[in-house]
């Protein structure tokens, strides 16, 4: 049996983990994702999205499901691994004080699990304050030191000073992690579930931070489109080869003018498009680019020109 890909979502209480989880569960990504959460309490799912609900599991009409940990984390994992069919991806929302380094060990040890990445959510408004909490500061440092991707939430309502100082903190504590601004949790799920650089070999995050006063990480912005409009294949090819400032990655699945379906993918200078079988849902495209260079609005305009509105 192939191993189930696993992504951890970590971050302190109130950072916005649940918003990210809600987004993953309701996003039209076409994957059967299982999200394991501490409790359903804060998960706000549209009633019309819910297929059925039994004690510890909510099944959604898009094929996703949400399970609660209940009394024991390990029994919950075992229950998910025994599901048939097995979910295509497991997302574990850890508690606000969990050490993702420790939680991640389960997915490294269990051969039926394949750890793809650790995402740590921080919010631009409250993080600095949380870091000064004597009971929590070290926990938050440890979480960041494990991150492959740091998601920054609430940047839209944070003061410029707070945002700037958060960037410095993240760059110091997680110098090699990617960063992405994700106000309201809106990041294309594909980007969250993609393999991330794994940082689960932590020896001493404090010593590591001292050695690195420079920032290896980069900050990204995301873009996503979902719809049923058809694309003009020639225009799509032009877009795949076009000069788009700061674009890191663009991929998607769309119906073209002749009614066939095409998957496309662009990473750096490499781009490809090929015919595929029709998917279950709608067309979808996602992109990610370097913050400060990549402009999602500009890509949206370019994409509108690719779509065949005739």
């Amino acid at each position: 049996m192939t191993a189930i890909p696993v992504t951890l979502i970590s971050g302190y209480l109130g950072a916005g983990k649940t918003t990210v989880v809600n987004h993953i569960l309701s996003d039209q990504h076409g994957r059967r994702i299982c999200v394991l959460v501490n409790d359903f309490g804060e998960i706000a799912l549209d009633a019309d999205l819910i297929d059925n609900r039994t004690g510890d599991t909510v099944a959604l009409s898009n094929g996703c499901m949400c399970c609660t940990i209940g009394n024991d984390f390990y029994s919950a994992i075992d229950r998910i691994l025994r599901m048939s069919p097995r979910p295509e991806h497991l997302v574990i929302e850890t508690s606000g004080v969990a050490d993702p380094f420790k939680v991640g060990q389960i997915a490294l040890a269990e051969p039926e699990m394949d750890l793809r990445g650790v995402i740590v959510v921080v919010d631009a408004v409250n993080f600095a304050n949380a870091m000064t909490d004597p009971f929590l500061g070290d926990t938050l440092r440890n979480q960041l030191a494990t991150a492959g991707l740091v998601l920054i939430t609430k940047s839209d309502i944070a003061s410029p000073g707070a945002l700037k100082s958060l960037r410095v903190t993240v760059a110091t504590l997680a110098p090699e992690a990617l960063r992405m601004v994700a106000d309201h949790g809106r990041v294309p799920s594909e980007l969250l579930l993609d393999p991330l650089p794994l940082r689960l070999k932590r020896s001493d995050p404090h010593a590591h931070a001292q050695d690195h006063d420079h920032d290896h990480g980069a900050e990204y912005r995301g873009w996503v489109w979902t719809g049923s409009a058809r694309a003009d294949s020639a225009a799509l090819d032009r877009l795949l080869g076009a000069d788009i400032a700061g674009l890191y990655r663009l991929k998607g699945l769309v119906q073209t003018e002749d009614g066939g379906w095409n998957a496309f993918h662009r990473a750096g200078l490499h781009a490809e498009r090929r015919a595929v079988d029709p998917p279950h849902g709608q067309g979808r495209a996602v992109a990610v680019g370097l913050a400060g260079h990549f402009d999602p609005a500009e890509l949206q305009s370019a994409w509108d020109r690719v779509l065949d509105h005739g």
Partner: protein
């Protein structure tokens, strides 16, 4: 007319200041009618004289205020510990201290198993084992055709044979923390902490939680209690779902069931309102033999696992501070809600940052709901200093200290976790009493073996296997230690109206000892034979 029995004994140690010692106790309807000399029976009409305890010493039935239901059921697995122990059915299992002895025991057990069936062992403690650290090659000598699993006494580690590693899919590519290797680069077979043990456990359907469930676990727990003089014991993290609760009610109601059980509802993972509602609901179903309503709140991890939350200067080797079980803010609202509902909390706090935090949280909860007698109890509370004991006393908070740790982990604490100075004040029983804190001491069975006399011996002697005395000034007198396993423990559970001492009106619960702990040398306390118990007037002595 109810049967009234006058028991005579060599000595009765009552824990009551009015009459600390007696020779006779009068019992009717499961309760104590009188205590004193032979003359006490006179006013009560016809009595039956029972002299079976004339050479024995009676104490109040021991109260184990921190133990777990799993205690008896673990014996379903093969015992491989280093000390001689009786299983609940009375069979003596001599300790094994060498690999050869262990392999011999395993081979005998395997001979009775169906082909291919796994062998699961428990009780092994590498700290007390001679020779090389146990590894898969040793266990391969027991079997190569089936998984062999040795659960360590700490329950945080296991050592397995090659067949078990193969079954779990462990191999050369395994790259997880807690899966160490031998010098030749192959896997050692030791699996450290739950994440590493999980692949083996789930494939063998090995669940320690499930082991604690059901009638047999309860029956075996009761037998283990009788052997150690225990008449009331906690199951200090219980789920108490309806099925389990029905079984508990029916088993503890049996005429021959020898143990009053005090399950603490595990509330971690519950929203505060849910926890309150659930605790009140189960409390309403309590009987004399099944006392419910107390709640178990977890805060941090363990000191030897470096997961306890410690104040500066933290761990000796500079390990990062431990982990919280729940966000501190959530812990505070949980504590406030339970306190506000008048529920008693038993709070797991190992490190001193955790115990200090819990005292903060309780004090805040008391601003809103002042009370003089909540008796919330800090469980383990191993690192608390004078300041915290003083504060606990003023807040009416009790402590249940892990005295057995001084023996089982004392040397490790000196050498690896906190160093000799702070190890000397671990489980500071003297400080607790001198500050006026209600004190219990415990085994956390099965983490260390059930046996209140051993726990008391630790509090009295504070000695380690290497011969160190950890904090001589923190030692208790024998009488103080006996108080902590009887009346002190009963008080932490708010059950001292009914149990904990031998005085008219209380339950006729006695520990029956073969010798007098107040005349034997303090260092012999743990060697005093336990002959059995009397529980609610029913005699459980062979």
């Amino acid at each position: 007319m109810a049967d009234t029995v006058l028991y005579s004994a060599r000595r009765i140690i009552t824990m009551e200041p009015t009459q600390p010692h007696a020779t006779h106790v009068l019992v009717r309807e499961g309760r104590i009618l009188g205590v004193g000399g032979p003359e006490i029976a006179a006013p009560w009409g016809t009595v039956r004289h029972d002299d079976r305890f004339r050479d024995a010493v009676l104490l109040p039935g021991f109260v184990e205020a921190h133990s777990h239901m799993m205690t008896g059921a673990l014996w379903e697995y093969l015992y491989c510990g280093n000390v001689d122990r009786l299983d609940p059915d009375g069979t003596l299992w001599p300790g094994v201290t060498t690999v050869d002895e262990m392999i011999g025991r395993m081979q005998a057990a395997i001979a009775r198993l169906p082909a291919g069936a796994p062998l699961v062992c428990w009780g092994f403690d590498p700290l007390f084992f001679e020779g090389d650290r146990l590894n898969r090659l040793h266990l391969d000598r027991a079997a190569t055709d089936r998984p062999v699993v040795v659960i360590h006494q700490s329950f945080h580690l296991m050592t397995v044979n090659s067949a078990a590693l193969d079954m779990a899919g462990y191999g050369p590519d395994t790259n997880a923390e807690g899966v160490p290797r031998l010098p030749d680069g192959s896997l050692m077979g030791e699996l450290q902490e739950m994440a590493a043990m999980f692949p083996v456990m789930r494939r063998l359907n090995l669940s320690l939680q499930d082991l604690s469930r059901g009638e047999r676990a309860m029956v075996q727990f009761g037998k283990a209690a009788v052997q150690t003089g225990v008449t009331t014991a906690t199951d200090l993290y219980a789920e108490l779902d309806d099925t389990e609760l029905d079984t508990l009610l029916s088993v503890t109601a049996r005429a021959d069931y020898p143990l009053r059980i005090v399950p603490a509802l595990g509330v971690i993972g519950m929203e505060p309102e849910t926890a309150v509602a659930r605790a009140l609901a189960v409390r309403a179903r309590s009987t004399d033999m099944l006392r419910m309503g107390i709640c178990k709140v977890m805060t941090d991890g363990s000191i030897q696992g470096f997961t306890a939350r410690m104040n500066w200067p933290g761990y000796l080797g500079g390990q990062p501070n431990g982990i919280w079980n729940l966000e501190p803010a959530r812990l505070k609202s949980l504590i406030a809600a339970l306190h506000g509902a008048g529920l008693n909390m038993q709070l797991h706090t190992n490190g001193d940052e955790a115990s200090g935090f819990v005292l903060d949280a309780i004090e805040e909860a008391m601003w809103t709901h002042p009370t003089g007698d909540s008796r919330h109890t800090l469980q383990h509370c191993q690192m608390a200093g004078e300041d915290q004991f003083h504060r606990a006393a003023r807040l009416g908070v009790c402590v249940n200290l892990f005295a057995n740790h001084l023996w089982y982990y004392g040397d490790a604490h000196c050498d690896f976790t906190v160093g000799p100075d702070r190890a000397a004040r671990m489980n500071a029983c003297r400080s607790a009493l001198d500050n006026g804190v209600t004190l219990a001491i415990h085994s956390d069975s099965p983490v260390t073996p059930l046996g209140p006399l051993h726990v008391a011996w630790c509090a009295v002697n504070r000695i380690t296997p290497k011969g160190r005395v950890l904090g001589a000034n923190q030692r208790l007198s024998v009488l103080e230690a006996l108080h902590a396993i009887t009346l002190g423990a009963a008080r932490t559970l708010k059950l001292d109206r009914d149990i904990g001492s031998i005085t008219p009106g209380k339950c006729a619960d006695f520990a029956v000892l073969g010798d007098d702990p107040l005349t034997r040398a303090p260092e012999d306390l743990r060697d005093i034979p336990v002959l059995g118990t009397v529980q609610g007037g029913r005699v459980f002595v062979k």
